[in-house]
């Protein structure tokens, strides 16, 4: 299953609902384009909802890092929401869990932005 994204606004925060696979090729490109598009339109408070992302490879991990740093470099914040066990495990073993702000409750994630 390829990746699909949909975005919505909640109290000034953009929630990006992702589903499918974030892997080398289409999945990574869709994520990259989505985040860049949001930033270009001034949406700098971003939550990636990964509840329905069932697979991610090293390229996908790289794309998450890229999204995080690109947003930060533009004065924004990007957080992760609702990680599946597989994605959570991958972020743990790559030590990226300490880098990302990971939330498991959407309302709390929205409130956590300054």
């Amino acid at each position: 299953m390829s990746m699909k994204v949909g975005s919505r606004q909640v109290d000034g925060v953009t929630i990006v609902d992702c589903s499918g696979r974030i892997t080398l090729g289409e999945g990574s490109v869709i994520l990259r384009d989505t985040v860049r598009d949001l930033l270009s339109k001034g949406n700098k408070k971003i939550v990636l909802n990964l509840a329905d992302v069932n697979y991610i490879d090293s390229s996908g991990i790289g794309e998450l890092v890229s999204a995080f740093t690109t947003t930060k470099n533009q004065g924004g914040e990007l957080k992760l929401l609702n990680l599946t066990k597989k994605v959570n495990d991958l972020l743990q073993i790559t030590k990226l869990y300490t880098v990302f702000d990971v939330k498991d409750d959407e309302a709390a994630a929205v409130k956590s932005f300054k």
Binding site: G25, D57, S58, S59, G62, T94, K95
Partner: protein, 150 residues
């Protein structure tokens, strides 16, 4: 192909489709061998990362270069070999992705993930290509359990 045979190999193009295909083959064979769900995911992801290295970094998508993928059951081990026809790689130049200065790099985690998921990872670079060997041992009662219960 059924893994009742001891060995099977594929010659694949240097394309993105090869990466997905290699992952699918690994998933199917690991399932046939009775590995548990977590191990199947680990094996298929390691093969995917190995195929990414072969297609992108080894053969650099060259149409005239092939990737060879082989699965072999050797005793209680699944031995997977991935070969490319690229210029070889300098293993000393692979950074540690867990080092603080590398955590925010957007690439360089493939070999680390393979080593995390497989029991043995051997990389043999040469001027005519790189050979990657991945070994997963049958662990515990889950792997092989289907056969044993019949």
């Amino acid at each position: 192909m059924a893994m009742t045979e001891q060995r099977v190999s594929y010659t694949l193009d240097s394309s993105l489709e090869t990466i997905d295909s290699a992952e699918e083959k690994a998933t199917r064979i690991a399932t046939e061998l009775g590995f548990g769900d977590d191990e199947i995911m680990q094996i298929s992801m390691a093969v995917r990362e190995g195929a990414v290295n072969a297609v992108l970094h080894g053969n650099a998508y060259a149409a005239d270069k092939k990737v060879t993928l082989a699965f072999e059951r050797v005793g209680e081990e699944l031995v997977i070999t991935i070969r490319d026809q690229g210029p070889g790689m300098d293993l000393s130049k692979i950074p540690n992705p867990l080092a603080p200065e590398n955590l925010l790099k957007t690439s360089g985690r493939g070999i680390f993930l393979m080593r995390s998921f497989m029991d043995v990872v051997e990389i043999r670079p040469s001027s005519t290509g790189t050979e990657l060997k991945l070994i997963k041992r049958v662990h515990g009662p889950t792997a092989g359990g289907k056969e044993a219960s019949q």
